[in-house]
C-alpha cells in the first residue's frame, strides 16, 4: 500500500494483493524487459511526506524513474491499470458520512489517467471500476500482466507472450 517496485529479472513477479479502491499502475518496456508496479491509494498529495506511491500525482513520475534505472526506455513505456473499485456500494464511502458520493476508486483512477497523460504514456489495458477487489501480478520477462478478481480466476490482461499465463496455470 503506497509502495512501488520495479523489476528486470526474468520470471520475477511484482504483486499487489487486494486492490480495492486503490489503483495498481503497471508500466512495462517489453523490448528491454523492464516492468514496474505502483500501489496508489489517493488521488493527490497535500502532505510533505508520504510513502512513494501513495498519491497518484507523485507515484507516476517516481515509477517512471524506477523503471528507467533498470534500463527502460521512457518513450516505450506502456501502462496497464488495475483496481479503482467502488467497494462500499451505494454509501460510496466506508464512513458513510453523507458528504455526497465520494467514490474514491473512480477518483484514484481519474488521477492516475491524468498523471499518465501528462507524461504521455499510453494505457494499453485496464481492469478498473466495478465493486470487486482485485489482485495483480506483473512480470517483466516475459512481459505480462495478470489480474484476478475476488472470488474469480486469474486472467491475462495484457502480455507480449499470449497464453504464457494459461500454460503456467496448467503446469501448476
Amino acid at each position: 500500500m503506497g509502495e512501488l517496485a520495479a523489476s528486470a529479472t526474468p520470471d520475477e513477479e511484482l504483486v499487489s494483493i487486494g486492490l480495492g479502491s486503490c489503483v495498481g499502475v503497471a508500466l512495462l518496456d517489453a523490448v528491454n524487459g523492464v516492468a514496474g508496479l505502483a500501489h496508489v491509494m489517493l488521488p493527490e498529495a497535500n502532505a510533505a511526506y508520504s510513502a512513494p506511491a501513495k498519491f497518484a500525482d507523485r507515484a507516476i513520475p517516481t515509477l517512471i524513474a524506477a523503471t528507467e534505472r533498470l534500463g527502460a526506455v521512457r518513450d516505450r513505456l506502456e501502462a496497464v491499470l488495475i483496481g479503482g473499485a467502488q467497494m462500499f456500494g451505494k454509501t460510496g464511502t466506508a464512513r458513510a458520512n453523507g458528504a455526497g458520493t465520494l467514490d474514491l476508486g473512480a477518483r484514484n483512477e481519474a488521477a492516475v489517467r491524468e498523471a499518465l497523460a501528462r507524461e504521455q504514456i499510453s494505457i494499453r489495458a485496464a481492469a478498473t471500476g466495478g465493486s470487486r477487489g482485485r489482485t495483480v501480478r506483473v512480470c517483466a520477462v516475459p512481459a505480462l500482466v495478470g489480474v484476478k478478481e475476488a472470488g474469480g480466476v486469474e486472467v491475462e490482461l495484457w502480455g507480449t507472450a499470449p497464453g504464457a499465463l494459461a500454460a503456467e496455470g496448467e503446469a501448476a
Binding site: G2, E3, G18, L42, Y49, M87, T91
Partner: protein, 198 residues
C-alpha cells in the same frame, strides 16, 4: 516514516479503550447469540499502512465484512470481519442463511449492535458524542476491504491506528475480528480527551 508516532503511554491508554470497546462488544454479541463470547488480545497498534493490512489477516482471503461509519465528535470506521466459514456459522446461530440478503442484513445488524455498544462505552469514557451511521455489508478479499477503509481513514498520514480484538463464540468454532479504525484527526481528539495530548 517509522510507524512510531505515539508514545508508550498513549498506546497504553488507547489499549485500554480497545479493551473496553471490545469487551462491551463481546457482551452485546453474547446477548445476541445467547452464548458466551471470549475476547482474545484486545490491542491498540500503530502500524504502517501496508503492515496494518497484513495485521488484519491473509490479504487474499475471501471474507464477509460489516462496516459502520462513525461521526459526531470524531470520524472513524467500525469494521467486523468474518472468515467465510465463520460467516456461515454465525448466520446459522441466528437462523439465517449466509451470503443471502437476509444473511447480509443479519451481519449488518451485528455491526449495528456491536458498534453501537462499543461506541457507547467509549463515549462515556471520553465524553465525546459518537454517532453510528448505517452499516454496509460486503464480501470481498480481506486486503481490498481493509486497504480501502484505511485509504479513507488514514488520508495523508502513513500510520494507521488499529484498536482490535478477536471475539470467539463458545461452543462454535467461530470468531469475528472487531476493529475500530479512527481517522488520524480522531486519534488526536481521543488522546486529548484522555489528557494525553502533548
Amino acid at each position: 516514516m517509522p510507524p512510531r508516532h505515539y508514545t508508550e503511554l498513549q498506546l497504553d491508554a488507547l489499549q485500554e479503550l480497545a479493551s473496553i470497546g471490545s469487551g462491551t462488544a463481546a457482551t452485546a454479541l453474547a446477548q445476541l447469540l445467547g452464548r458466551p463470547v471470549d475476547i482474545t488480545v484486545p490491542r491498540a497498534r500503530a502500524l504502517g499502512l501496508a503492515d496494518a493490512v497484513d495485521a488484519a489477516g491473509a490479504p487474499e482471503e475471501q471474507v464477509a465484512s460489516a462496516l459502520m461509519g462513525v461521526g459526531g465528535d470524531l470520524e472513524a470506521v467500525v469494521l467486523l470481519l468474518f472468515p467465510s466459514a465463520d460467516e456461515a456459522t454465525i448466520c446459522g446461530l441466528l437462523g439465517v442463511e449466509a451470503d443471502t440478503d437476509v444473511g447480509d442484513s443479519a451481519l449488518g445488524e451485528i455491526a449495528n449492535i456491536l458498534g453501537a455498544s462499543a461506541l457507547g462505552a467509549l463515549a462515556k469514557m471520553t465524553e465525546l458524542a459518537l454517532e453510528p451511521r448505517p452499516p454496509a455489508v460486503i464480501h470481498d478479499m480481506l486486503g481490498a476491504i481493509v486497504a480501502s477503509v484505511l485509504a479513507e481513514t488514514a488520508g495523508d498520514v502513513d500510520v494507521a491506528l488499529m484498536l482490535d480484538a478477536e471475539l470467539s463464540i463458545a461452543g462454535a468454532p467461530c470468531s469475528v475480528s472487531f476493529m475500530l479504525l479512527p481517522t488520524a484527526g480522531a486519534v488526536d481528539e481521543l488522546l486529548a480527551r484522555l489528557g494525553l495530548d502533548r
